[in-house]
Structure formats: structure tokens, C-alpha cells
């Protein structure tokens, strides 16, 4: 276990980076707590795999340092950093059995044989691989192979952190679910620092204590799943997290009112006068569709019924708004939209603006 510190870390794949856009990973300064579960979330090309490879040692950063506890490990090889990594597709030793696969990392480190069998038996139990322990690893299903990959990391005593690079990519949806739950259990049980790279927000939010949202090489926001959900600091975070994503509606803001099209909406506080690109952000879960006369009249353009809930696509003066209706709720004949005031966020140039407190801004 270790605390991981990223000290002004940046990376460019080019030999002589000059401008900001030459950097695949822009400068990041952060401390990851010991034993925490973190997710690196973002679309393809956002730099999350680059960051993961720097942490694991497979890549040496062009700028900055990385420290495990107080040791500078920036130039250390992966073997010297005591990390484990689980890759996108299961990496197992074909010719060995499940048990032998799990024993391998310990044998290489010259651990005493009775210790090896103790740890390996424990791991086989924890991973529910008991009845397959003596089978050749090659014949197992994808999710069982991933468990073995994971197990090889967990058996070791000296593991500082376990890194996951989109590990559930090749797994079936219902196995994905089980494996995710298992990862969470293992995290609680063993308390290793775990860093999980994914582009799937459900995976990120269910697994992690803190999520690092990345976009275009930059860290956009780091926060708990609730923080990211309730108060995204950037419209990208609002859009990326939540299915469907946050409604981002162009609006004019003055005082405690926002104007969408020709309609007025109450805000939770007073805002300073805002110029530039001003938008109102609200999650579809907090938009209601009913007959309240004070609501904004809307036109329903489509409904997606996904069993658990329905996504209603509507427009206010030709501005698109999505609404989530729970199972059993109906669409009224004369639909009117109301926004839950406390859940409205205001954004200027894509960044969150806080309401004024005692006449002063934050």
C-alpha cells in the first residue's frame, strides 16, 4: 500500500513539445490516498491510459515526478515499483494451471513454499475458482481468466497499488456486473490502492471512492461520485456522467432568474451578471413533467422506455430537454416542465459559477 503523489507530471509523445497541444497529458498535481479506490474516467484519447502507464512504470514522463510514499519512483521499472496491472484482455500463462498461474509471481520472488500455498489457497477461495484450480488456465472463460490476472496481483505481499486498464472490456454484461462487485469486495478486504481506467461511467462510479474525470489530456474534475453527479464543475463532466447526461441549455442569467427562450426559471441564489457562453445545467432526473400551470409548456418529441424508467425527449421553444420518468409515471396530455431549483447549475464558458454569498462571489 502506498500514497501516490503526482508532482507537476506531464507527458508528451513528441521529442520536442512546444505548445500545450503537443502534450498528451497536461500538467497534473495530485496526491492519491493510501488504500483508496480511484477511477480515471474519460473518452478515448483523453490521456487516461498514458497516466496509468506512467504510474505503473511502463512509461517515463517527460516532465515532473511521481512518488510512492516518499520515494521518487519516476525512473523505476515496473518490477521495482511493486505494482500489479490487469489489462484489457486477460493475460494468463497458457501452459500453466490456475493454481500455477497464481503461484508464479510468488515463486519469482522466492517466497517460502508453505507461504505460497497458503496465499494461493486463500486467493482461489476469494476468487471462487475452487473447482477449477487444477485446470489449465487456457480453457477458462474470459471472466475467470480476468480473475486469474487479478489474483496474480493480489497474491503478492508487496503490492503498492493495483492498476486496471479497462479490465471489463471483453466480459459479458451480467458477468461484468458480478466482477465489478467482486472487485469492490476485494478492495474492502485487502485495502490496496486501486486505480481503474475506464470510459464507462457506471463502472467508474460504482467502483471508485474518487473519480478523476479527464478530457483531452487534462484533469477536469476530481471528486466523489456524488460530487460529480450533483455539482459537475465543467459542462463536460455534466455531459459525460449520467445516462442520459446533463441537459445543457443556453440561457441568460440575471440576479436569481434565468431566461430560457421566452420563459423564466427561478435559481437557488443570486448570480452576478454573466456574459459570454452562459448555460443552465440540470440533470434529467431533476426535471419534472406534469400539468402544473406555472411550468414551462413543452412539446414531447419522443419517448424511450427502458423498463426501469423512461427517457422523454421534449423541446422548449425548439431547445432540447431530456426528462427521466420513473416506472409508472405517465406523460400528461398538456405537458409542462418544472426544474428542481436546488439542482440547477449555472455555467459560464463551460465552467461552474457559484451563486453570490452575501453579495460576494466565490
Amino acid at each position: 500500500m502506498a500514497q501516490i503523489t503526482l508532482d507537476k507530471l506531464a507527458h508528451s509523445y513528441l521529442a520536442n513539445p512546444k505548445t500545450d497541444s503537443d502534450f498528451a497529458l497536461k500538467e497534473i498535481d495530485y496526491v492519491w490516498d493510501d488504500g483508496g479506490a480511484y477511477a480515471l474516467l474519460g473518452p478515448s484519447g483523453c490521456g487516461k491510459t498514458t497516466l496509468l502507464n506512467i504510474i505503473s512504470g511502463l512509461l517515463v514522463p517527460s516532465k515532473g515526478k511521481i512518488l510512492f510514499d516518499d520515494r521518487d519512483v519516476t525512473t523505476f521499472q515496473p518490477e521495482q515499483r511493486n505494482i500489479a496491472q490487469v489489462f484489457q484482455f486477460p493475460v494468463i500463462y497458457d501452459t500453466m494451471t490456475v493454481r500455477q498461474n497464481l503461484e508464479f509471481p510468488l515463486k519469482n520472488r522466492h517466497v517460502a513454499p508453505h507461504e505460497i500455498s497458503k496465499r494461493v489457497e486463500e486467493m482461489i477461495e476469494v476468487l471462487d475458482l475452487g473447482d477449477k484450480a487444477n485446470f489449465k488456465a487456457r480453457g477458462l472463460t474470459a471472466d475467470e481468466k480476468q480473475k486469474i490476472s487479478l489474483g496474480r496481483g493480489l497474491v503478492r505481499y508487496d503490492v503498492n497499488a493495483i492498476l486496471f486498464d479497462e479490465p471489463l472490456t471483453v466480459i459479458d454484461p451480467h458477468m461484468k456486473w458480478q466482477l465489478r462487485t467482486k472487485l469492490k469486495e476485494l478492495h474492502r478486504q485487502f485495502n490496496h490502492t486501486m486505480i481503474y481506467v475506464t470510459h464507462d461511467q457506471t463502472e467508474a462510479l460504482t467502483f471508485a471512492d474518487k473519480v478523476v474525470v479527464m478530457y483531452d489530456g487534462e484533469v477536469v474534475q476530481i471528486g466523489t461520485p456524488e460530487e460529480l453527479f450533483d455539482e459537475p464543475k465543467h459542462t463536460f463532466v455534466g455531459y459525460f456522467i449520467g445516462s442520459p447526461g446533463m441537459n445543457i441549455i443556453p440561457a441568460d442569467v440575471a440576479g436569481n432568474q434565468a431566461t430560457i427562450g421566452s420563459h423564466s426559471v427561478d435559481l437557488k441564489g443570486n448570480y452576478p451578471d454573466l456574459t459570454g457562453k452562459v448555460e443552465l445545467g440540470i440533470r434529467p432526473e431533476f426535471v419534472s413533467l406534469n400539468n402544473i400551470s406555472s411550468g414551462i409548456p413543452a412539446k414531447v418529441t419522443g419517448v424511450d422506455d427502458i423498463g426501469r424508467f423512461k427517457i422523454v425527449h421534449a423541446t422548449i421553444d425548439s431547445i432540447e430537454v431530456n426528462i427521466v420518468l420513473n416506472e409508472g409515471e405517465c406523460i400528461p396530455s398538456d405537458p409542462k416542465i418544472t426544474f428542481e431549483t436546488s439542482r440547477i447549475n449555472i455555467y459560464k464558458d463551460d465552467h461552474l459559477v457559484y451563486p453570490l454569498v452575501n453579495g460576494r462571489g466565490l
Binding site: 515496473p78 500489479a84 493475460v91 500463462y93 501452459t95 508464479f104
Partner: protein, 295 residues
Amino acid sequence: MEKTYNNKAWLLVIPVVILVALSAIIPIMTVVNYSVQDTFGGNKFFWVGTEWFTDVLRSERFHNALGRNLLFSFIILCIEIPLGIWIALSMPKKGIWVPVCLIMMALPLLIPWNVVGTIWQIFGRGDIGLLGHTMGLLGIDYNYTNNIFDAWVTIIIMDVWHWTSLVVLLCYAGLVSIPEAYYQAARIDGASKWSVFRYIQLPKMRGVLIIAFLLRFMDSFMIYTEPFVLTGGGPGNSTTFLSIDLVKQAIGQFDLGPAAAMSLIYQLIVLLICYIFFTVMSNVGVDKPAKETAE
């Protein structure tokens, strides 16, 4: 995957069928014909059944030649396969040296086989050959024309020089297809270089190694041109392999019957050994039948 049946495809095959018939099937049937007949000359033949076959199978000459072939193939495989793997492992996988190495490896394979024999024949000569002359200067008694051991060593080294590249290229193709993640995982597991070889590279090369093994076995077992040009089968008959003996009988002695029988037996031996090798090697390491994946 099954391909859909297309009858028109058969038309494309007819020219090949005619060619193969003329150049292979008819000559083979002629050989079978000769193998069951004898002649007193004057182009008159009469049926002797399996007499030639039993003669050949009992003859000491045949057994000796067969023994030489087996020994030769065994030595060749023991040298070329590990050497080929080792060279393939040492070749770079990325960068500017890759095409250079590949071309260098391919060169020996492009040389016509009798030219290979001629190269080494001259190379080993004591008077004008670089190797022969150097050996003389070093005081080593080297003469491949009248020393059995020298002849064998020369033939073996010639074959290794000629054909190891095939093994190298096949193994290299197999190695290059291993995803980087396996090496990364091995580093993280703390595996030694030997472990990486034994548990990752070798298993993943299984397919290409089977092909390399079979090809080298077949070619070395049927070897003719290079030793013929180099030693002509000598000194004595110490390097007379089955193929050379066959030609001696058929063309030299004009004993068509026994030669035909021997060539058929030769062919069957090659087929049998290849079949056994292939079946054994395909099933090594497979413990239960893999479930057919319904895609």
C-alpha cells in the same frame, strides 16, 4: 467458416489438374508400374508382384541408407530448430534494422540448391577454398572427399547455413504476433528471461514451430542436390542418402524395378513419419477438447 458452394470455381481448377496429371500423376503411376515388373531387356516386361518390395526391404544397402537419412535428419533438427529460435529471439522487432535483418535471413533461401552445393564444394577445397585453406594453415587435417567425419560435418554445416533461415523467419513471425501486454504482465510478475521464454514465447510459437519442424524434417529426409554436388555420395557410400542411392540404382545401374519399389517405400516412410509427428505435436498440451465457439 464454410464457404458457399460455387460450381464455377471448378473450371478454374481444370488447367492445374491437367498440369498435375501430366507432371505428377502419370509419372507416379509409371513408377508403380515398374515396381511390380521385371525385364530381361529388349523392352519386354513381366509381372513379379511384390518381389522387388521384399528385396528392397531386406537389403542391407537400403537399411544403411535409411539409417543415414534418419541420423542426418535428427542432427539437423537438433541444431536448426533451437538455433532458429535463438536467432529469431535476438532479432529486433521494431525499427530500421528489421528489414535489414529479414533480408539477410532470406538470402540463403534464395540460392539454387545445386549452387549451394557448388559453393561449399569449392569453399571446402584445400587448394582454392577459403575454409579448406584456412584449416590447412591451422594445421587441421580437413578433407571432405576422403574423410567420412569431415564429409558429414561439411554437409551438416552446409544445410544449417542454407535452411536455418526458414526456421528463423517462421519463428520471428510467431514472436512478432505476441501482444505487448504479455511481456508487460511478465515484468510485473517478476518473471526471469527464461520464464518469459518458457511460459509466454514458446507456447505462443507452437503453431509456427510445428510447421517449421515438419518442413525441415521432410526436406532434410529427402535431401539430394546439395550432398550430391558436394560429395557425390562419398567417400565410399558414407554420405549416400536414400535419394542418392535411388538415383544410382535407377539411372546408374538401370535397375528400374528395385529403384521404383524403393522410391515408393521412401515416399511412404516420409508420409508415415510426418503423419505421426503432426498428430503428436498437435495434441501435445491440449488436455480436453475445446468447446466449439458459437460465434
